[in-house]
Symmetry: C2
DNA sequence: TGCCTCTATTTGTCCGGACATATTTTCATT
DNA sequence: AATGAAAATATGTCCGGACAAATAGAGGCA
């Protein structure tokens, strides 16, 4: 009869009440004590129910303030999980970064294009590929206070990994923009492609825990050799 | 001194023990009773600690079998949350789909390119934009047993939304591939772009709960009008 | 009015216990 | 040896209680 546990039943009732507007966003849910009284359950059971709602992101709880509705529906429907920086780059596992140049950011270089002061950054130019096949041409800006050496970069799969290993600065947020471009003669020859062919252009911005940018990159990938794939899964919410 | 709660301390100790190989993947962690005895805590506290590890995906628990290590490191480091189908498409909120053609899939059309039997699918051609500005040219395949009418599609922001509303078929997994292309004369004129300019090409495959494909789309977006942006956040694991 | 302190309230942590349920192991039976 | 019943065991659910910590709100004070 009562196959589902009590605390899940309570949680489901509250979820429904939130969904149908009985409790609107910003409203206060009943306190734990009130739930205990109205449903004749122990405080522990009430807490378990509210814990489910908290984990789903539907409510937030604060001492003395109570439980307030944060969203009428579970905030995220789909998620794209990433195992690490390599999954973001989507190069083959054995693709290596060949560094062509690495030094203080020139005044008229990548930093200027992004509206950054070249003084505080180091610029790297390189190409990525496996063996002789080049799959991407890259420009990178690294903040000088967390710039690894060339050797440290080359022994890690990505620059972000090198920074995390060397300086302990971990990316908290990464913004990525993908657009398309037509290869001009110079870039095409570096990539071994036909001038006038298409390429994918990815820009990535790595932010630390304070939201400050510490790493930026721009890469061109010939369309005939590179497709950016991603997979989204619907979150289980029961 | 002991600012952090006991159960979080225990969880951290276990996390560390898993990370440094004291417990390897597949090993059994101490039972709740053993944790109670060794750390002189109540079973409730031990359970709270193990709950944290379970939520992080580090361990799985089964009655009688105990707690086994599922992964040495938290499985997902970054997540890209999506609120719905519109976030995937990344068109402006007021962008509308103008349907140019909608009917049974022709034998030599999009279905053939994807290796699908044209008999079971309906093909749609359209363009998306706001007012007069066209931002994308689209080909879509819809499985015939869940194909909405043209009116149903036009009154919803996306075709996936229309299918979910009309047939109750919700996408469980969406695969997306992004590549680049050069616009030829015919497509360029439809999009109002220069022939030979670059465009972003997105292919999306929507799968239902059984993993079966029910919706596929291919869209071309002029690079000068469209950039695909995404944001990844590091998962909080504490 | 503005600022401060104090209090009451609500959630967070932790303890103790009990029974339920699923699953493995053991052992008796065939 | 194969099968099936029973026991043992680890987690899941639920109850009761107690104190701690944070903080919104009331009330007092300048």
């Amino acid at each position: 009869m009562t196959a589902t546990p009590r605390y899940q039943q309570i949680a489901q009732m509250l979820r429904a009440a939130i969904a149908n507007g009985t409790y609107k966003v910003g409203d206060l849910l009943p306190t734990e004590q009130e739930l205990c009284a109205t449903h004749e359950i122990s405080r522990h059971t009430a807490r378990d129910a509210l814990r489910l709602l908290t984990e789903a992101g539907l409510v937030t709880r604060k001492r003395r303030a109570g439980t307030v509705v944060a969203a009428a529906t579970p905030p995220t429907v789909f998620v794209q999980p990433l195992g690490g920086f390599q999954d973001l780059l989507q190069y083959a596992r054995d693709a290596r970064l060949k560094i062509l140049a690495y030094g203080p950011a020139p005044a008229d270089g990548f930093a200027r294009e992004l509206g950054l002061d070249p003084g505080g950054w180091r610029e790297l130019r390189g190409q990525r590929g496996t063996g002789t096949a080049t799959v991407g041409l890259t420009r990178v800006l690294v903040r000088t206070d967390c710039a690894p050496t060339q050797a440290e970069i080359e022994e890690r799969p990505t620059i972000a990994d090198a920074i995390e290993a060397r300086y302990g600065i971990a990316a908290a947020r990464i913004d990525q923009q993908i657009s398309a471009m037509v290869l001009d003669g110079q870039v095409a020859s570096l990539l071994g492609s036909e001038p006038g062919s298409a390429a994918l252009l990815t820009r990535r911005f790595y932010h630390d825990g304070h939201g400050a940018l510490f790493l930026a990159s721009e890469s061109a990938h010939p369309a005939d050799r590179f497709v950016y794939s991603m997979s989204f899964n619907r979150e289980r919410s029961e």
